[in-house]
């Protein structure tokens, strides 16, 4: 672990104000919590942190997980940024070592964290693995909605530390370191319900209006750009996944606030893609969207839009291809040894895309062709809408695109937010 700085209890007020100020414009976080709770949450988080401020990305992963008390901060940034997506579908931060940002430096500056996701494509099946973590109070006031490009055949708990291991691959530490079929009143059809630890997961089929209405009816808060973003995805695939955090169950399970729960969404699809536009949800167009997207494919993939090579200068923006190489045996062996990850084959191509782009520039998704023909589908990237993706198409004939994700940062208890912010 690299210590980037140490704060004392005397710095608490400064930290709280700095964090609150930094997030002030990001109403997504303030709405559900309210001003008083907003500050209190920051204070509580840092107060129990015993003063040590560190960069979570520098935490060596083998213990993966628990105990890094930066959860709240990263949740705040993340939720505020409303970037959940392609990369991570989460409202808060990913599991401990998932995010590679979340830095509060000694001088009090704060930077947005990354979200992390793995899209592994093998034998026509996509494993989309990301992590959800929430920090709502005991009443359980947070959740997420994730547009899905296709119907998942399974939604299970993901590997315990798969995402952390991937981060470790590209950010090595320093040497010291249940099925239902219920028509809802809103028009959205529930096609799958399941639970993963403290998460209640519902897969929905419906258009943007149906799903948005369903979400509102079930207590999810949708930001003002949600209708357009929902429509953007619904045109290609009317499948969405709503994830709600059950705080009481989490407490009973001993899950601490902010602890990430990895979820593996298994989707058969001929065209894997990773949604990127969703990362801009609720964002100021000028804000910087950051996410780590890992790809594991049978062959070297072709992508649309094309990722650029890393520049020698710092501050490079865009989709930056940091790694493209055969996955090392050690990486694949490690991943395969994780719980529920035995499906990882012996040989795969490993790609790491560093998303570092202005929200206004992230207008499309990342289409991937790992067939060897190097023809990523422009429709899957959102450049054009084909009839085959029309909402009127019956599901069995829909070429299920992989991909997923996103997140409409969502915060439950609309009444509360209305009452507090727009009473």
């Amino acid at each position: 672990m690299l210590e980037l700085g140490t704060a004392t209890s005397a710095d608490l007020d400064t930290i709280v104000e700095t964090v609150a100020s930094s997030l002030n414009a990001e109403a997504m976080l303030r709405w559900p919590f309210g001003d008083d709770r907003f500050h209190e949450r920051i204070r509580r988080h840092f107060a129990h942190y015993n003063g040590t401020v560190r960069h979570v990305a520098d935490v060596a992963p083998p213990s993966f997980g628990k105990g890094v008390a930066f959860m709240w901060t990263r949740l705040g940034v993340r939720a505020a940024a409303s970037v959940i997506g392609a990369a991570a579908l989460m409202i808060g931060a990913a599991g401990t070592a998932l995010a590679c940002g979340g830095l509060i430096a000694p001088n009090g500056t704060i930077s947005l964290t990354h979200t992390t996701t793995l899209a592994a494509y093998h034998d026509g099946v996509e494993h989309y693995i990301t992590s959800f973590s929430y920090a709502g109070d005991a009443s359980g006031d947070v959740g997420s909605i994730v547009p899905l490009p296709g119907v998942p055949i399974n939604v299970i708990k993901g590997g315990d530390w798969t995402l952390q291991r991937l981060q470790l691959e590209v950010h090595p530490p320093s040497p010291i370191a249940g099925v239902a079929s219920t028509a809802e009143a809103s028009g959205a059809k529930v096609i799958l319900r399941t639970t993963v630890d403290s998460l209640d997961i519902t897969v929905l089929k419906g258009g943007a209006l149906d799903v948005g209405t369903w979400a509102s009816d079930h207590g999810f808060f949708l930001p003002p750009d949600a209708p357009e973003v929902l429509a953007f995805y619904a045109q290609r695939s009317p499948i969405f996944m709503a994830v709600k955090f059950d705080a009481e169950r989490a407490a009973a399970q001993g899950v601490s606030q902010g602890e990430g729960t990895p979820v593996d969404v298994v989707i058969p699809t001929p065209h894997p893609w990773v949604p990127l536009r969703i990362l801009t949800l609720g964002q100021d167009p000028r804000s910087l969207v950051q996410a780590d997207v890992f790809l594991l494919t049978d062959r070297q993939p072709a992508m649309l839009p094309q990722a650029v090579q890393p520049a020698r200068t710092s501050g490079q923006e865009g989709l930056i291809q940091r790694v493209s190489e055969p996955a090392s045996a050690s990486l694949l062996n490690d991943l395969r040894s994780d719980d529920r990850m035995s499906w990882v084959p012996q040989h795969m191509w490993f790609t790491f895309i560093d998303v570092n782009a202005r929200a206004a520039d992230l207008t499309h998704d990342l289409s991937i062709d790992a067939s060897g023909f190097a023809h990523p589908d422009p429709v899957a990237a959102g450049y054009a809408i084909s009839e085959r993706f029309g909402e009127g198409t019956s599901l069995p004939t829909v070429p299920i695109v992989l991909a997923i994700v996103v997140t409409l940062a969502v915060l439950v208890e609309v009444r509360r937010h209305r009452g507090l912010v727009h009473p």
Partner: protein, 139 residues
Amino acid sequence: MNALRRALLSGLMLITLAPACTRAAAAPPGIRTVPITIHYSRFSRDTLVVAPGETVRFVVRNTDPIDHEFILGNQHVQNVHEAGTEPYHPPRPGETTVPAGTTQTTTYTFPDVATPLTFACHLPGHFAYGMHGDVRIES
């Protein structure tokens, strides 16, 4: 809970707006009807020109899956609603909540003199997202 709230809200609106709607349906020729559509959290128009003293019936259609509102008034009115204390806005002329997928009406009589007026949605983040427009009172 939200569905219940929406149902109660709609019922309340029906009760409160019914008389106005009835009057509007039989509105005298002097009352102009202005349709406004909300789509992707944007109003279909960003400016509106009215005559001094004109009475306008606004028919506001929300095509989005999220709630919106239509608040017409001067800067003071907008400020009140931006930091407001009312969860919903049926009763006053020029102010109405427009639940997802619904159409609501509100009738407003403009002042006789040129006055800067704005129509907007003040749900959290919506004004900043661009949900506002200007009204010009011109002879």
